[in-house]
């Protein structure tokens, strides 16, 4: 567990009204902020380190394999060298995202609440910030995170009925539960943007009262809820707070509406037409609720570009990456495959489809 923030315990002393604890102060004490918010550079570094450590382990395994099998032909050695390649940081990310996306659709099929699915995705992605897909295959923790998220979100389902619904075994679900808890640094609270969305949904109607169509707002809400689930698959969750993500999503949904809202709510100056949005003199303006509107808009826009930068891995990529991992862990499989290919081509002289082995691997 990481060291706790040691500072003046909040609420201990009577404070004057200007020193009141704000919601932002409380958020900064949350584990989501303390343990799971990063700068982009730090996040890159974490992923690179996890990948490098698992990668060098894989290289070592391969080296040992080749050393202990001097009988291999050159062709076989080359096959191993070309098939059993440790995956890159980017490939890890692709695979994790591929499965994270599947968690959402799987949770939908199981009729689980949105927040449970969101927490499962958060757990799953955080798990792979300290574990490599080369060490623990994503499909082995897929059900574990979903089952565990049910428990932490107070939506308990017995492991047996969960296993039945998910068409897996109770042992498979529970196998990595401790490992998951440990990898999560024993921090289980998640603040998702859905609550913030509900809050803004109500506040927009209030602030723009009479100027927005209720039915239209309902549509905005539904669309945004879906977009949030998508945004949870991006790195925006590590760089921005839930309300910032929500505002970015709302901005993507209806920019004109949000600009009007932000003008009235935060005193954002209207666009002066030259495309720069803000003149330099009002950029430091702080609204009555203590928010610097132009700064806020800047943050939301950068958040929007992170959300837009989402990765949607193709199934083919996931299959290929999974095959690489499989061959790294079992270099002999490359040889076996080669032998089978040779045999079948000598018998039938019709080459098997190249994908066969990796397909058997797929999830």
């Amino acid at each position: 567990m990481t060291a706790k923030v040691k500072e003046e315990p909040i609420g201990d002393k009577p404070v004057s009204s200007s020193l009141r604890i704000t919601d932002d102060d409380l958020y900064r004490h949350s584990t989501q902020y303390r343990n799971w918010s990063f700068t982009p550079e730090r996040l890159d570094q974490i992923r690179t380190e996890v990948n490098a450590s698992a990668g060098s382990k894989a290289e070592k395994t391969l080296k040992q394999f080749l050393e202990s099998h001097p009988e291999l032909s050159r062709e076989e050695e080359e096959a191993v060298a070309s098939k059993a390649v440790p995956v890159t940081t980017h490939e890890e990310l692709l695979l994790v995202n591929y499965f994270a996306r599947m968690i959402i659709s799987f949770a939908g099929k199981m009729n689980l609440p949105t927040e449970v699915a969101a927490t499962a995705v958060a757990f799953f992605r955080r798990f792979f910030l300290s574990n490599s897909v080369m060490d623990i295959p994503p499909k082995e923790v897929f059900h574990t995170t979903l089952f565990f998220a049910c428990k932490t979100e107070n939506y308990f389902i017995g492991v047996e009925s969960f296993a039945k619904k998910a068409k897996t075994t109770t042992d498979a679900i529970l196998k990595h539960e401790f490992k998951l808890l440990e990898s999560l640094n024993f921090t289980l609270m998640n603040h998702h943007p859905y609550k913030a969305l509900h809050g803004f949904f109500l506040d927009i109607q209030n602030v723009l009262s009479g100027r927005v169509d209720m039915k239209y707002m309902g549509q905005v809400y539904t669309n945004c809820k879906k977009s949030i689930s998508d945004a949870l698959l991006t790195d925006a969750v590590y760089f921005y707070t839930p309300p910032q993500i929500t505002l970015a999503i709302l901005l993507m949904e209806d920019e004109a509406l949000m600009m009007r809202y932000m003008q009235l709510k935060f005193g954002l100056q209207p666009d002066n037409g030259d495309g720069s949005g803000q003149s330099s003199q009002d950029s430091e303006q702080v609204s009555s609720n203590g928010i610097n509107a132009s700064k806020l808009l800047e943050v939301i826009k950068s958040c929007r570009s992170v959300i837009n930068n989402k990765i949607i891995p193709a199934k083919d990529d996931a299959v290929k990456i999974t095959a690489k991992i499989h061959y790294c862990q079992n270099p002999m499989a490359v040889i076996d495959r080669l032998k089978r290919q040779r045999e079948s081509s000598s018998i039938a002289s019709t080459p098997q489809p190249v994908e066969t082995d990796s397909k058997r691997q797929k999830t």
């Binding site: 567990m1 315990p9 909040i10 609420g11 004490h29 584990t31 107070n154 401790f178 289980l188």
Partner: protein, 308 residues
Amino acid sequence: MIAQTEYSKEKKVGEGTYAVVYVGTKQSNERRIAIKEIKTSGFKDGLDMSAIREVKYLQEMQHVNVIELIDVFMAQSNLNLVLEFLPADLEMIIKDTSILFTQADIKSWLLMTLRGVHHCHRNFILHRDLKPNNLLLAPDGQLKLADFGLARNMGSPQEFLTSNVVTRWYRAPELLFGARHYTGAVDIWSVGIIFAELMLRIPYLPGKDDVDQIDVTFRALGTPTDRDWPEISTFGTYNKIQVYPPPSREELRRRFIAATENALDVMSGMLTMNPHKRLSPIQCLTSEYFVELPEPTIPSELPKLKQK
């Protein structure tokens, strides 16, 4: 694995269905600690819900009136929670007839309890099991909310919550009626009952079972009517209960002899039947009761259990 050697388990001090508690020492700074070792074998559904809740909520809260979770670690596939060592609880103090305490002492304990509850609520966390036994006392006199095994996030409007929470004597009327939607007001009710218990030195509403609890509660505080609680008739059991008149101010004064008018106001505010009208932690904390004399006793000067 550092954690295992960093903390020593010296003496077993308690054993429950899902945990064993030890006292020990944190080696690096000699700090006294308690280790709650959560049994994990024998739970077919993996990690137990109470353990999950305890870890989840304590990790989020750093407050002088909430027990500190110092560390968490795994050892021999058991989950270990390292907690600050708190040798006493409020129940022990209340029950120990050799200890005398003043109105200022009561005010101090109530103040610390409310601060802890306020901190939970502003983090959108419901404790759902407040009782003297779960209010632990540090050697320096500070009171700490403990046992978050029943805690949960405040529900969103459409969410169903279970009414089977809070130890019976401290259960709010909406829970007695089986409400599926409720708020932090359930915790405030418990605090009100604890306040009464501190003044009386005996449990205020000791129901023998769930049905009796309804009777005991309304006999003491009056059966709510739909005039002061319009939603009450939506509870199925409401029509079947005995109607008692609410106590007059004079009756309350006679029952709580040492209480000032402001003290009675806060207590009655916390024990308001309609949860919407019940006082919030902020209303309690800013009430006249905490402004008027006597000032709350400084924690370090509060009565303590005699050393054995």
